[in-house]
């Protein structure tokens, strides 16, 4: 895929492993255009979240390059990386709300840390963000008092608190009831369009993500194995894509974890 100035994220031939000879990601290349909502899908443990950590500069790639807004993330010094992170927002899988702060203070956290906004302005901004996710009335609650869906909405409001250019979502649909699923999906799409941001969703929730994203990358065993629009993915006949999108039990991904022959394991003879 060719790089264009419209791409906010450009990842080229990127490999990563905590130990160099045991790679988790292998030769990944992908482009995420500005303004789009893109899903990075794949089974559990295929390396999706690692891609987010690489984009956020929390990990360094073993090989390859990763550019955000034209800047090589891993060539930045600490100050440059922190400056870049101020333009990013991230929703963690279980919210990662600060448990010692109220909902209000969680949203206000980044504003207080990075801006000199007066107290009144911070108050108004926080209430606007909370209103957008329907939780203005929960401003004074502690995170422990929130349901899973509410916590995810607060985390979303916190992720977009400073109107970032890029918002990353790590499994935003995990563990939510059907109503909360729909709410979070709509909020992701709406906030992306309202802010003019770019969003990258790491998920294995097929139906919910295909309903809101512009483009999909499908990962398996540390590689990008397919890419396309939601319609292209739904209509694909490629065996792995078909199995993943339709949730088929058998296919390229076998039901059984590799093991010795069943009969031999039970002592019933040799396979």
């Amino acid at each position: 895929m060719a790089t264009t100035p419209h791409d906010l994220i450009e990842i080229t031939d990127l490999s990563f492993g905590y130990v160099p000879d045991r790679l988790i990601l292998r030769d990944i290349s992908l482009r995420i255009p500005r303004g789009q909502v893109v899903a990075l899908m794949g089974g559990s443990g295929c390396g999706k979240t690692t891609v987010l950590r690489l984009i956020g500069g929390q990990l360094k790639p073993t090989r390859g390059t990763l550019r955000v807004a034209g800047q090589d993330i891993h060539a930045l010094d600490a100050a440059g990386l922190y400056a870049m992170r101020r333009r990013m927002g991230m929703l963690f899988q279980f919210g990662a709300l600060f448990t010692d702060l109220t909902v209000f203070e969680n949203i206000a956290f980044e504003m207080r840390e990075h801006t000199d906004l007066p107290q009144d302005a911070i108050r108004d901004l926080v209430l606007m963000k909370l209103h957008a996710v329907g939780l203005r009335g929960a401003a004074d609650l502690m995170p422990a008092e929130l349901s899973g869906g509410m916590a995810r909405r607060v985390a979303l409001a916190r992720a977009v608190a400073l109107d970032p250019m890029l918002v990353m979502y790590d499994e935003p649909f995990a563990g939510l009831d059907p109503i909360s699923l729909g709410v979070i999906g709509r909020l992701i799409r709406r906030s992306n369009d309202a802010l003019g941001a770019t969003s990258l969703i790491v998920t294995h929730d097929v139906q919910q993500s295909l309903a809101i994203v512009d483009y999909v990358y499908l990962m398996a065993e540390g590689r990008i194995v397919a890419a396309g629009t939601p319609d292209e993915m739904r209509n694909s006949r490629e065996p792995f894509v078909y199995q993943f999108i339709h949730g088929a039990i058998d296919g390229p991904v076998g039901f059984h974890y590799p093991a010795t022959a069943y009969a031999a394991a039970l002592g019933l003879g040799h396979a």
Binding site: M88, Q93, A96, E113
Partner: protein, 266 residues
Amino acid sequence: MRELFGGSIAAVSAFVLGAVTRIGAASLFCLRVLARSMTSFARPRLLVREVYFAGALSLVIIMVSGLFVGMVLGMQGYETLQTYGSEEKLGVLVALSLVRELGPVVAALLFASRAGSAITAEIGLMKATEQLAAMEMMAVDPVARVVAPRFWAGVVSMPLLAALFSALGIVGAYLVGVRLLGVDSGAFWSQMQAAVDFKQDILNGVLKSFMFGFGIAAVATFEGYAAPPTAEGVSRATTRTVVNSSLLVLALDLVLTGFMLQLWSE
């Protein structure tokens, strides 16, 4: 036999190597905390909040323990001193024991158990629930925002708690020695006043407890920050904080006492 011997050497070597590596990592972490400490001083509200959690919430256990240790010391001291007809020296015995040794050491051991373990558990759980990672992604350094205020809160709280422990211990000894066992009140206080030296006894006690606070805070914050982000990891880190910081306090006490006695004799 040779294999057994070789295996033992290998196991001891691995243990020593692991311990030295961990001490090195803890020292580097400590330097990082010191380098990132300006936030704590520039934003005193962060520090005050942590002093409340580490120091103020430890007051009950420290004060009650100090009172009881003082009462027991008064009882035991009276029993021994009356053998020599020197029970009026009880104030001196109690004050010197508490101010020089028992106050800083016992208060530090209690502080390690009460506040050190809480600091480790809190930082470890923040790591396990990705709160520290979230902070990093918000371009906020968790060492400056979370660790440094807790570290300095430990350093600041420890001497104050040790002083309170000693003070309550003396009150406890007074209650038992003077009020219960009949030691002369004037002798109890005046001999104590004459024998306790501000520089050699009180100041050295404060210096000791300051060093203990530094050690406990360093161990507690490091163990929390380096804890594996799992329930088991945090649990083990909390236990390590109590064990390691208690041992560190005892070792530091031996070294500091040696230094101080040497300085006094010169």
